[in-house]
C-alpha cells in the first residue's frame, strides 16, 4: 500500500487530500501541519476579526487522511525516504508532497522582531490583543495583502498608516494613475498613506513594547502596532537543506507535473516554483494540488501557469487588474471626481486586448477578462464608457472563473447537458463562482444567453419576475389582482401567480388574506388558515412565541386535541402541531384556542414561522444574554409578515448555539457585548450555514438590521426563493447586502424601515378576525349544500394510541 506524506496543512494540502480521495486513492495519507488547527480558508482570514470563528473558517477535515497538528517537519532523509518531525515520531513515505506555503517577508531592520505579520489565525489573535492597548497602527506594505491588513487595523479601531516603498499603492496591480486614484479613496477613509517610503527601524519603549516606526528620513510614526505585509517568501527551507533544486529567488523547482528534482517528491502551492513563477493566489495553488494528485494516481495532468487577474474590494474601493500591464497602445478613462480610473492595453494593430486596470469601478474586469489575447469585442472607448458591454459573446476557451479554472465552454456544457439552470446549480456542478465570487455576473450572463429557458417570467400570465411585480404594485399603488393582471398581465392567473401576488399584496398592505377578491388568490392552506395533509384534512399550529408556554396554555392545547381527537406532535420549531381536523372543525378548534389567548402560528403561510430559542442566560449557566426574551420579541414583531417563502429564525444565548440559529433564515447568537446576526441559513433539502452579517449589535441595532434584511428580501427575491438561494444569487453577495442595509448604498433604508413599522402597526390575528366575520366563516364547510355533514371519505386508523389517516 502506497504511503503519501504531506508536509504543511494549508489550502493546497487540503485540496490535495480531497483530490486523492476523489480519484479513489486507497493508500495511506498523513498530513503534518505546524499550525495548531487543520487547514482553513486563508483567503477569508480577515473575516476572523469581524467575528467569524476559527471553526467557520476551517475546511471540512478529510476523513481519509491521518493528520498530525502542531507538528513541524524538520528534515527530509531522501535516501531512507523518511521525514523527521519536531518532538515526534519520524514519518516514512513512498511519496512526499511539500505544501509548506510561504511566509511573510520581514525586512532585517532593527526591532523587526517586535512587529507582527498577517498570515495565520494565531497572528490575528496576537494583533487583536496588541490593538487593545494601542491607538495607532502601521502596516508596512501597500500591496494587496498590506491594504487588507490596514483595513483590519482600521476595523480594530486604530488610526492606521500605510508605508509603501514604491511611489504608489498596489504597484503590482495598478499603474501610477490608478495608484493616485486609489490613494485618494483611502485617504478619504482617514488612513494615512506614506508612499515612496522605507523602514529605518521599529522603535520600542523602555519596556520593550513597540512605540513606532522610523522612516529613513528620520521621521517617526507613533504606533503601538506594526504589521509587516511587504511580500511573501516561499518556505523552501526543507527542500534547500535536503539538496532539492530551488530557484535563485526562492521556491522549490517543479516540472509541469509538480515533481521536484527528486521523482518521489512533489511540491505544490505557494512553496513551488512552477515555470519560473511562485503563485501567491489560491486558485493556482488548487490547480497544482489537482495536478499532483492526478500524477500520483498515474495520470498525466499538467500545470500550465495561471491567470493572475485580481479583483477585490478593499476599504470599499474596487480594484481589478487582468492580463498584461503594458501594451503598445492604451486607452484610459479617468474621472477624479467619482474616483474612477480604467485603462485597457491593446496590441499595436489595435485589434487584440492585452489587459486592463480598474480602480473604483471593476465592471470592465468582469466582462473583459475572458477576452485577453483575443480580438477586441467592441471599440475600446465603448468598452470603458459603458462599463464593458454586457452583451459580449465569450469564446468557449475563454476562462470564466480563474479561481477554479473553469472555461466558458465548461459552463455552457453544464447548462446544456447537465441541466444547470441557475447560479447555485452551476456552482455545485462546475465549482465556478465558489471561491471569490467575482465571476458570478459572468455565470449569470452565460445562463441568460444559453438556449435553456431562464426566463424570469413568473408564469404564462405575467412577463415579469416576482421582484418586478412587487415594484410595479408598490410604485403604482396597485391593491388588487384584477388590476394587476388587467394592466400588466394576461388571462386570469393560475396556482403560480395568484399566491405570489397574494403574498406581494399582503407584504405591501397587510389586511386580511381572505378579504374580498384576495380570498380567491390563496393556496388552500391560506384559504383555510391551516395546513392541508395527504387525506384532505388540516393541521393546526397555534403560535408559541420563542417556544415558551405556561402550563395552563399547554393544558388547553391538550384538551383541544383530546376533545377533537387530533393527532398531536411537537414540531422542530418548538411548537405543537394538531393533525386531522376537518374544515368544518377548524373554526370550533380555533374558537377554543383564541379564547385561551392563542393566535395563528402562520404555519400555513409563506410567512414568519417560528423564532426558536434556547433557554438562555435566565437559566443556563453558560448563557450571556436572554435569548428567550429576544426570541419572543422578534416573533411578535414579525408575526404575520408574508414573504416569498417561509421564514425561520432562532436565538442562542451563547456561542454553544443550542438553538441551531445558523441553520435559519436569520439567526442570532448572543455575545458578551450583544448579538451576532447571521443570515441566509437553511436546513432542509439543501442545508446551508448562515453567514455573519454583523457582530456585537445592541438589541436596537439588531432589530433595525433584521427589519431591513427582511424587507429587502421580500422586495427583491423570486417566488419561493428562500433567503439562502436569494443571498447566493445576489450580485456581490454578502458585501452587497451589507452595503444596502447597513451603509444604505441605495438610499432605501428609510423606506424599508417605514415599511416594517407599517407591518408591525397593522398586524392583526387572522384567526380572531375570521371568527368575528360570519362571511369568512361560511366557507368552512365540507359541503355547500350540507354544512353540518362531515366528509365521509375521511377515515382514520389507530397507531401508538393516536389517529392516522387512511387513504384509499
Amino acid at each position: 500500500m502506497k504511503k503519501i506524506v504531506v508536509a504543511g496543512f494549508g489550502p493546497a494540502a487540503h485540496r490535495l487530500v480531497e483530490a486523492l480521495q476523489q480519484r479513489g486513492f486507497d493508500g495511506r495519507v498523513t498530513v503534518i501541519g505546524e499550525e495548531p488547527r487543520p487547514a482553513y480558508d486563508r483567503v477569508a482570514l480577515t473575516s476572523y476579526l469581524s467575528g467569524v470563528s476559527a471553526e467557520d473558517l476551517a475546511y471540512p477535515v478529510p476523513s481519509t487522511a491521518v493528520t498530525r497538528l502542531n507538528s513541524r517537519v524538520t528534515g527530509i532523509d531522501r535516501e531512507a525516504r523518511v521525514v523527521t518531525v519536531e518532538g515526534g515520531e519520524p514519518e516514512p513515505y513512498d511519496v512526499l508532497v511539500l505544501a509548506t506555503g510561504s511566509a511573510p517577508f520581514v525586512p532585517p531592520v532593527p526591532g523587526a522582531e517586535h512587529a507582527f505579520v498577517y498570515r495565520t489565525i494565531d497572528d490575528l489573535d496576537a494583533i487583536r490583543m496588541a490593538a487593545k492597548e494601542a491607538t495607532d497602527g502601521v502596516v508596512v506594505g501597500g500591496g494587496l495583502l498590506g491594504l487588507e491588513a490596514a483595513d483590519a487595523l482600521r476595523a480594530l479601531g486604530l488610526r492606521t498608516h500605510i508605508v509603501e516603498m514604491s511611489p504608489w499603492l498596489m504597484p503590482r496591480q495598478v499603474d501610477e494613475g490608478g495608484g493616485s486614484v486609489l490613494k485618494s479613496h483611502i485617504e478619504q477613509l482617514g488612513l494615512s498613506v506614506h508612499a515612496g517610503a522605507g523602514v529605518q527601524e521599529i522603535v520600542t519603549d523602555d519596556r520593550g513594547r513597540v512605540a513606532g516606526l522610523r522612516k529613513p528620513d528620520g521621521t517617526l510614526i507613533d504606533a503601538g502596532v506594526v504589521v509587516f505585509s511587504a511580500g511573501i517568501r516561499p518556505r523552501d527551507e526543507l527542500a534547500r537543506a535536503s539538496g532539492l533544486e530551488v530557484g535563485e529567488r526562492g521556491g522549490v523547482v517543479v516540472d509541469s507535473g509538480m515533481r521536484t528534482s527528486d521523482p518521489d517528491i512533489y511540491a505544490i502551492g505557494e512553496c513551488a516554483l512552477a515555470g519560473g513563477m511562485v503563485y501567491g493566489l489560491v486558485g493556482p495553488c488548487f490547480t497544482m494540488a489537482e495536478v499532483a494528485a492526478d500524477r500520483i494516481m498515474g495520470g498525466d495532468g499538467t500545470f500550465g501557469g495561471a491567470d493572475l487577474s485580481t479583483k477585490l474590494k478593499l476599504l470599499g474601493v474596487e480594484v481589478a487588474q487582468f492580463g498584461a500591464m503594458t501594451g503598445a497602445l492604451d486607452v484610459t478613462y479617468m474621472d477624479p471626481v467619482a474616483g474612477v480610473y480604467k485603462k485597457l492595453f491593446i496590441s499595436d494593430d489595435a485589434r487584440t486586448l492585452l489587459g486592463g486596470i480598474c480602480v473604483g469601478d471593476a465592471a470592465p474586469y468582469t466582462s473583459l477578462r475572458s477576452f485577453v489575447g483575443k480580438p477586441l469585442p467592441a471599440p475600446p472607448s465603448d468598452l470603458l464608457f459603458t462599463g464593458g458591454g454586457a452583451n459580449l459573446d465569450l469564446p468557449d476557451d475563454a476562462q470564466v472563473c480563474s479561481c477554479n479554472n473553469v472555461s466558458a465552454g465548461t459552463v455552457r456544457t453544464a447548462i446544456a447537458d447537465q441541466g444547470c439552470a441557475d447560479v447555485p446549480g452551476l456552482k455545485a456542478c462546475t465549482r465556478a463562482g465558489t471561491t471569490c465570487g467575482s465571476c458570478v455576473p459572468m455565470l449569470k450572463q452565460l445562463l441568460e444567453k444559453s438556449g435553456v429557458e431562464v426566463s424570469k417570467n413568473l408564469c404564462e400570465h405575467f412577463a415579469h419576475s416576482r421582484a418586478e411585480l412587487f415594484d410595479i404594485a408598490r410604485v403604482r399603488g396597485i391593491t388588487t389582482f384584477s388590476e394587476l393582471i388587467a394592466q400588466h398581465g394576461q388571462g386570469r392567473g393560475c396556482d403560480i401567480c395568484k399566491p405570489a401576488v397574494a403574498s406581494i399584496l399582503a407584504s405591501l398592505h397587510n389586511g386580511h388574506v381572505l378579504d374580498g377578491e384576495r380570498a380567491a388568490l390563496q393556496d388552500t392552506n391560506d384559504a383555510f388558515l391551516a395546513n392541508i395533509q395527504k387525506n384532505g384534512t388540516y393541521s393546526v399550529v397555534p403560535r408559541i412565541p420563542g417556544g415558551e408556554i405556561t402550563p395552563d396554555k399547554l393544558i388547553v392545547i391538550g384538551e383541544v386535541a383530546r376533545d377533537f381527537g387530533l393527532y398531536t406532535k411537537i414540531t422542530g420549531g418548538q411548537r405543537i402541531d394538531l393533525f386531522g381536523a376537518r374544515v368544518e372543525q377548524l373554526p370550533e378548534i380555533w374558537r377554543r384556542l383564541v379564547d385561551a389567548g392563542f393566535e395563528s402560528g402562520h404555519a400555513y403561510g409563506k410567512a414568519l414561522r417560528t423564532v426558536k430559542s434556547c433557554v438562555g442566560s435566565t437559566w443556563c449557566r453558560y448563557g450571556v444574554q436572554d435569548s428567550v426574551g429576544l426570541a419572543i420579541a422578534l416573533e411578535l414583531r414579525y408575526r404575520g409578515l408574508r414573504s416569498p417563502h417561509k421564514l425561520k429564525s432562532a436565538v442562542s444565548g451563547c456561542a454553544r448555539e443550542c438553538a441551531e440559529a445558523r441553520s435559519k433564515d436569520f439567526g442570532i447568537i448572543a455575545t458578551e457585548q450583544g448579538w451576532n446576526l447571521y443570515v441566509g441559513g437553511n436546513g432542509g433539502f439543501k442545508p446551508r450555514h448562515a453567514d455573519l452579517l454583523a457582530g456585537d449589535l445592541t438589541t436596537d441595532e439588531l432589530i433595525r438590521t433584521i427589519d431591513r434584511f427582511l424587507m429587502f428580501y421580500i422586495r427583491t427575491a423570486d417566488r419561493l426563493q428562500r433567503t439562502s438561494t436569494w443571498l447566493e444569487s445576489l450580485d456581490g453577495g454578502l458585501d452587497y447586502l451589507r452595503s444596502v442595509i447597513v451603509d444604505d448604498a441605495l438610499g432605501i433604508c428609510a423606506d424599508l424601515d417605514a415599511h416594517m413599522e407599517r407591518h408591525v402597526a397593522t398586524y392583526v390575528d387572522e384567526w380572531r378576525a375570521t371568527l368575528d366575520d360570519p362571511d369568512k366563516l361560511s366557507r368552512f364547510v365540507s359541503f355547500v349544500n350540507a354544512p353540518g355533514v362531515p366528509d365521509p371519505s375521511i377515515v382514520f386508523a389507530a397507531e401508538r394510541g393516536q389517529i392516522k389517516p387512511v387513504v384509499a
Binding site: 401567480c497 388552500t524 349544500n785 366528509d791
Partner: protein
C-alpha cells in the same frame, strides 16, 4: 339523467370552488371569472383525497382550470383532462342555472 338542486348561485365564491354532496357523490363546483359555473368530480386522482374543490382556479392558454391543492396538477374545468398528464381525467358534470339555483345533472 336528473337535474338536482344544489345551492344558490350566491353560494359560489368568485374564482373559487366549493364541494356539494349529490347523493353519495362529491361534486366540485367552480365559478369562473366570466360568471360561468363548471362541475368536476371532487376526487383528486393523484392523491386519492377529495380535495379538487379547494384548488386555485385560473386559466391555461385561455382554458379555465383548477390546480390540485395537494400536488398542483392542473385540470381543465371544461374537459376534466389533466393538462400535465393527459391520460388522467376526472369526471365532468353538467351544470345549469335555474334562476338563482345551481343544478347538477346526475344519472340515478
Amino acid at each position: 339523467m336528473t337535474w338536482v338542486n344544489v345551492c344558490g348561485y350566491q353560494n359560489l365564491p368568485p374564482e373559487r370552488g366549493v364541494c356539494a354532496l349529490v347523493g353519495d357523490r362529491q361534486v366540485a363546483l367552480f365559478r369562473t371569472h366570466d360568471g360561468a359555473v363548471h362541475a368536476l368530480g371532487n376526487l383528486d386522482p393523484f392523491s386519492g383525497a377529495y380535495v379538487l374543490s379547494r384548488g386555485i382556479v385560473g386559466t391555461r392558454k385561455g382554458e379555465p382550470t383548477v390546480a390540485s391543492p395537494l400536488h398542483k396538477q392542473v385540470f381543465s374545468l371544461v374537459t376534466g383532462h389533466c393538462l400535465d398528464e393527459p391520460e388522467i381525467t376526472v369526471p365532468v358534470y353538467h351544470v345549469r342555472l335555474d334562476g338563482d339555483l345551481v343544478q347538477v345533472a346526475v344519472s340515478v
